[in-house]
Every structure is written in C-alpha cells, then in structure tokens.
C-alpha cells in the first residue's frame, strides 16, 4: 500500500501543454477516410433510389430534379437528398450505389442554424461548380 501514486505526473502536467482541444476555435485532426459528410454527384447518379431503400435511418429521400437541371443518365428525374440530421454516417448508401455516385469527404462540422441537408451540394455538382466541404 502506497501513497498517491500519480502525484509525480500531476506535478509534471502543470508545465505541459493542455490536452483538451478548444473546439470550435481549434479543430480536431481527423483521418482522411473518416466517414463525414457525403453527397451525390448528379453527373453519375441514375436516380435508382437504392440508397433510399437501404438507408437504415431513413435519412435519404428521392426528390424531383428542378426543371432546369437535366442530367444525361437520369430517366426518372429523381435524385437523393440526405438529411444530415437523421443520417448516421454508416455509408451504406455509398457502398450499395451501383454507379459509385457518392462523393465522400471527412467534413464533420455539421452544426448549423438551418436544417442541414445535401440538396445544395448535390445540385452544384451538375453545373461543374463542385461541392464545398473540404
């Protein structure tokens, strides 16, 4: 039986850098392949709706494309919209997509005053502007 065994470390820690990361002022370093925000590339999407069927959280809804957006290979004119508030980031949609239409990022700052979904990011992909996120 001894005394306070970690006293030495406690004293040492007075002079070292704090371990706590002051998010959101500093950002946590995450892996490149962390499952973060993902959205559909309309140039590839065929609107089959398999992602919406397979989503375990029912976070994906198939919506009608706007009138001015006409992708080449999308006969039904549907595209998936991911509700990031419902999404559990399991990436099942990414792995079941028959045409690999999902763009994956490791972006995780999803707190927002408005309801976060993938609509804007997805629609931007068609006009060649590219989605934000990284």
């Amino acid at each position: 039986m001894g005394g306070p065994a970690i006293l030495k470390e406690v004293l040492q820690r007075f002079f070292s850098k704090p371990v706590t990361i002051q998010y959101p002022f500093e950002h946590v370093e995450v892996e490149k392949d962390l499952r973060g925000r993902h959205y559909t590339d309309l140039n590839k999407c065929i609107g089959c709706g398999l992602c919406a069927l397979e989503c375990p959280a029912d976070a994906i809804k198939m919506e009608k494309l706007p009138e001015d957006k006409k992708p080449k290979r999308n006969p039904r004119g549907l595209y998936p919209v991911i509700d990031y508030g419902l999404c559990v980031f399991c990436y099942r949609c990414v792995t079941v997509c028959p045409v690999n239409a999902f763009i994956v990022t490791n972006y995780y700052h999803l707190a927002s005053p408005k309801k976060p979904d993938s609509r804007d990011l997805t629609l931007k992909t068609l006009s060649g502007e590219g989605g934000g996120g990284m």
């Binding site: 039986m1 001894g2 005394g3 306070p4 065994a5 970690i6 470390e9 406690v10 371990v19 995450v30 892996e31 392949d33 962390l34 499952r35 397979e54 989503c55 375990p56 959280a57 559990v88 980031f89 399991c90 990436y91 099942r92 792995t95 079941v96 997509c97 028959p98």
Partner: protein, 397 residues
C-alpha cells in the same frame, strides 16, 4: 373492540439512487432501503431507456438491421453488429475469409480496451479521484483514434458486413496501429499499478461487494463480474468464433471476489486484448478479399433460425435470428450481459454502506441502454405488472 395487535416497523430510510444521479451515467433507478448507514434491501427499477429495437428489427431488412443492431449500445457497437452478422451468416451459410475474421477480432478487441478503460476511469471518478479519471480518459482517446484508423469512426464503427468487414487496412495503417498499441500498453500497465497500490482506490474497493462463486452461478452473472469471482467463463474460449481459434489468449480470472478484483480483471484483460490486437496485426493473413462487394451480396434469405454468441466487454451477448424466407427477419432476440448482471444484482448490495452502492454498481460495468427489455403495461386499466418469461412464452399476459 380495541386493537389486539400492534406491528412496529423499525425506522428504515428509502433512498432513490437514480434515474438521474451524478454517480450513474445512464438512467437506472436503485431503490435503496437503509437501516442507518447499512443497506438492507435494494430494488432495481429499469425501463427508462427502452427503445424497442427488437421490434424495429422485425420491420427492417436483414442488411439494414446490421446498422440498427450496432446502435443498441454505443460502447459495444462492434460486438453487437458482429453477433448479428454472424447469426445471419450461419443462416445463409456464408464463411468469410480468414483476413476478415482477423480484422473483426481486431476491431472487437480495440473496443474491449476502450470499454474497460472507460469503466475504470468512471470507477476512479465515483471514488472522487477525478485526476485519475481525466488521465485514463486522455489515454483512452488514443484507442479511439486507433478505432478511427481501422473502421472510419471513433465510436460507431459500422465495421461488420455479411461475408467480411467494410474496410481493409494497409501497411501504413498497420504500423500506426501497432505504435498506438505500444503506447496504450505502457499507459495501461501504469494505471493498473495505480489501481493496485493507491490507498484512495484500494480502501474503497477491497472487500466491498463480495460475490461468492455459488452466487454467481445461482444468479447467472457473466463476464468480468464472474471472472472476478474465480469463475472461468468466456464465450471467446467457449465458442472459438471468428479468429479466436487461431489467436492465442488467456482467460483472466481472480480469486478476490470483491469490486477490486472485478476492476483488476478488466485491467488484465485490457493488457490481454492489446496482446491479441498485436498478434492479429502481425499475423494478418491475406487469403482473400476481406471487404465483400455489398452490391453483390445475396438477397435471398433461406427460412430457418440461427443463434450466435459473442464475448462483449461486459460478458456474454447472444443473438437469436429467425427467418421465414422473406426480406425481413421474423424475430431478432437480443440477450445482453447487463440484463443478467444488473437486474439480478440486488443481493450484492446488502450489508454494505450507502456510499458503497455506486461503487458496487459501477464494478458491474452497467450498460443500461443494452439491457432495457420488455415490460408489460395494460393500457386499458393503467396497470403495470411483471411477468415471467415462461408466462410470456405461453401467451398468458
């Protein structure tokens, strides 16, 4: 006609511990009856966290259920998913390649390391040793990072898939994982020494919550709780599922039978798990693709039933999956270790002081979100009653 008999009831104090209490991290209510400082009776009240996951599984497809079952519990999500996936694999007669099995073992052992470190940290916090709590949590973060490297997320791994795993690792990731495991091993050994020698810990834990081996078998307690009372029970050793038939490991048991023994079993298992992880990383076979193409997995599920069990960080976890040949399972039954450990634990508090109740409860490593199961409520009359499993099975409710 005067009263002929007077019943005098001695003064006892009824203390509700929970459902919201600083010592409990999840909603559970212990109704403690105390005679002075001494606990004379404990009622365990549950039902604050019931989410109906088993029913949800009956309405979702087999593949969607992998992710739903992973969310029964946050800390042990990989083992839940693994157990369900293996039950479905037995049903469909699929055998994943050895490489996938090794990666599954690796993910599950990483989870065991961080789960055991978490409960030891919480034990330190409950004893009032907040410095140690912070230090252990700081080093646990390294294990979470290792899990992020392997699976793609810190906590909810979503790593298991029928026929394999969902991500493979390369040489770079392997070396990083080995490096992290070396650091964690060094730190775990240091904390284990603190738990062995520090007066703050030993005075609160030793000879508190003694459970005899006969009580363990009578009440059906599992996992580190049983192993802390010298009962050698371990589903990894019993079933030799996944790659545990090739990976060498020891089942840790201790003879002290008290709360301290249960915590020490967890520390020794942490070290054992680190050894297993290192072995799995160094002997990773390359016999086939570990990651199946999820678009080409079979969509037909034969009728039948299957049963799988797995050694979760808290004890033996079992899944029973029944199929009638449709896209959705007919029944998914989950039996978690905390269900046995917490609901049957009321005998072990008796005779100790009120201050020991949170210590004894924490030494069981309670996982309330795992254990919430059926309670029958008659909505017409507003009556709540408990029924035995036999009555439930016979439809007598």
């Amino acid at each position: 006609m005067g009263a002929t008999k007077v019943v005098e009831i001695p003064v006892t104090l009824e203390i509700p511990i929970g459902p919201q209490h600083p010592a409990l991290h999840e909603p559970l209510m212990l109704k403690v009856y105390a005679d002075g400082e001494e606990v004379v009776k404990v009622d365990v009240n549950t039902g604050y966290n019931h989410r109906g996951i088993e029913k949800l599984c009956e309405r979702n497809s087999f593949y969607r259920n992998i992710f739903i079952c992973g969310r029964v519990c946050g800390i042990c999500n990989t083992v839940h998913a693994n157990c369900y996936v293996r039950a479905v694999e037995y049903l469909m007669d699929i055998d994943p390649p050895r490489r996938a099995k090794y990666l599954r073992v690796l993910a599950m052992e990483l989870e065991r390391i961080h789960s055991h470190m978490l409960i030891n940290a919480i034990m330190a916090e409950i004893l009032g040793f907040d410095t140690l709590f912070m230090y252990i949590m700081r080093d646990r973060e390294k294990v979470m990072k290792a899990k992020e490297i392997l699976t793609g997320n810190r906590v909810l791994a979503d790593y298991m898939m029928v026929g394999g795993v969902r991500r493979d690792i390369d040489e770079v990731k392997r070396d990083r994982l080995l490096k992290i495991l070396d650091t964690v091993e060094r730190e775990a050994k240091r904390y284990m020494r603190v738990f062995e020698t520090d007066d703050t810990i030993t005075k609160r834990l030793i000879d508190v919550g003694v459970i005899k081996p006969s009580q363990i078998t009578r009440y059906g307690l599992l996992g580190p709780t049983a192993r802390g009372s010298n009962i050698k029970i371990d589903a990894r050793m019993g079933d030799r599922y996944d790659a545990y038939d090739e990976v060498p490991f020891n089942v840790v048991v201790r003879k002290e039978m008290d709360s301290w023994a249960r915590m020490m079993v967890r520390w020794e298992e942490t070290l054992e798990s680190i050894t297993i992880c290192k072995y799995a990383l160094e002997h990773l076979p390359s016999d086939g693709p570990a990651v199946p193409d999820e678009r080409r997995l079979p969509r037909k599920f034969p009728p039948g039933e299957s049963f799988a069990r797995v050694e979760a960080p808290r004890g033996e976890l079992t899944y029973y999956v029944s199929s009638v040949g449709k896209q959705i399972p007919y029944r998914v039954k989950i039996r978690t270790p905390s269900f046995n450990n917490i609901i049957n634990s009321s005998f072990s508090y008796i005779g100790y002081s009120i201050a020991d109740v949170p210590v004894i409860l924490t030494s069981y490593d309670p996982c309330i979100s795992c254990m919430e199961r059926a309670v029958v409520i008659d909505t017409e009359r507003g009556v709540r009653k408990s029924v035995s499993l036999r009555q439930l099975a016979m439809g007598e409710i």
